[in-house]
């Protein structure tokens, strides 16, 4: 098998394992990454909602917020793990596609 083939298998393995990135923090009761709190969390921590933060945050409605489907907040861990894997597949398909195009365009003159 070619090296790229082997490496893609590695990526697929990581996709399948990716829900660990959801399950382990849940299991060990770890919160958000530092500095990536939502509105409620920030309000709880500081006692107020910073004015500029309020107007800028959560304005962008991502199609798959937090690597899940819209409206899936609070679903059980197995549903969220499923959404996480779908997110990984979708993200990687787009990212690999975009990077291939960029790479092809940049190396066009070498061919």
């Amino acid at each position: 098998m070619t090296l790229t083939g082997k490496l893609w298998i590695g990526i697929v393995a990581l996709i399948i394992l990716s829900p660990l990135g959801l399950i382990l923090p849940y299991h060990f009761k770890a919160g958000s990454a530092w500095g990536e709190w939502g509105r409620d969390e920030i309000h709880k921590m500081t006692g107020y909602l910073p004015q500029g933060f309020q107007s800028l945050s959560e304005r962008w409605k991502a199609p798959m917020p937090d690597y899940a489907f819209q409206g899936w907040e609070g679903k059980d861990l197995s549903s969220m793990s499923f959404a996480y894997i779908i997110s990984a597949v979708a993200g990687i398909a787009i990212i690999a596609g975009v990077t291939l195009v960029i790479g092809k365009v940049l190396t066009k003159e070498h061919a």
């Binding site: 090296l3 790229t4 490496l7 893609w8 590695g10 990526i11 990581l14 996709i15 394992l17 990716s18 990135g21 959801l22 382990l24 923090p25 299991h27 060990f28 009761k29 770890a30 919160g31 990454a33 530092w34 500095g35 990536e36 920030i42 921590m45 500081t46 107020y48 910073p50 004015q51 500029g52 933060f53 107007s55 800028l56 945050s57 959560e58 962008w60 409605k61 991502a62 199609p63 798959m64 917020p65 937090d66 690597y67 996480y84 990984a88 979708a90 993200g91 990687i92 990212i95 690999a96 596609g97 990077t99 291939l100 960029i102 790479g103 940049l106 190396t107 003159e109 070498h110 061919a111």
Partner: protein, 226 residues
Amino acid sequence: MHIPDGYLSPETCVLFGTVMIPIWTAASKAVKKTLSVRQVPFLAIGAAFSFVIMMFNVPIPGGSTGHAVGGVLVAVLLGPWAACIAVTVALVIQALLFGDGGITAIGANCFNMAFVLPFSGYYVYKFISSGSQASSGRRVIAAGAGAYVGICMAALCTGIEFGLQPLLYHRANGQALYSPYGLNVAVPTMVLAHLVVFGWVEVIVTALVVKYLQKQNAVFFEGGRS
């Protein structure tokens, strides 16, 4: 380390967006010059790897979470400019599609994770590995050391960006307008968490893949050419 929307002032966002434009331009030019057609699939795999490894949130029990970035690995294999492009693509898609990292903060996040991280890591790798064989153990150690320095430097920059906000942008009553924690909190928190925990995740991931590729006799170690 993905700064969300609302944590940085619009001025800060514009500043980092502006800083990134010449960096992205230079990256395109450098990659155009050095990347071979044969390496393009590896660039795509590198971007995919960076994206998926960032999904592995590692918990500090009862505390926060963090993750590796994979940017130093790509820098070691394909060069820092290629890594800049690969990680940038991952970060942009994360922001747009998954709301991970702010749209307005794309410039700052790319500065930290797609510029500071691969470049600082790469130069540490170059320094430690100089003169060594492509198959040597020193390469693995050098890549690991680069990974550690790279992610910790990125965390330092992120901490400074967060920490400057309340200093520069606050209301008359002292309330912060954007990120609420100053340098005295943001910098030590970001840096310590990466020095003690998340940095080691980056080290392990980077060293393991480099070791594996050595065994596969991968000939595209960027450092091997110069």
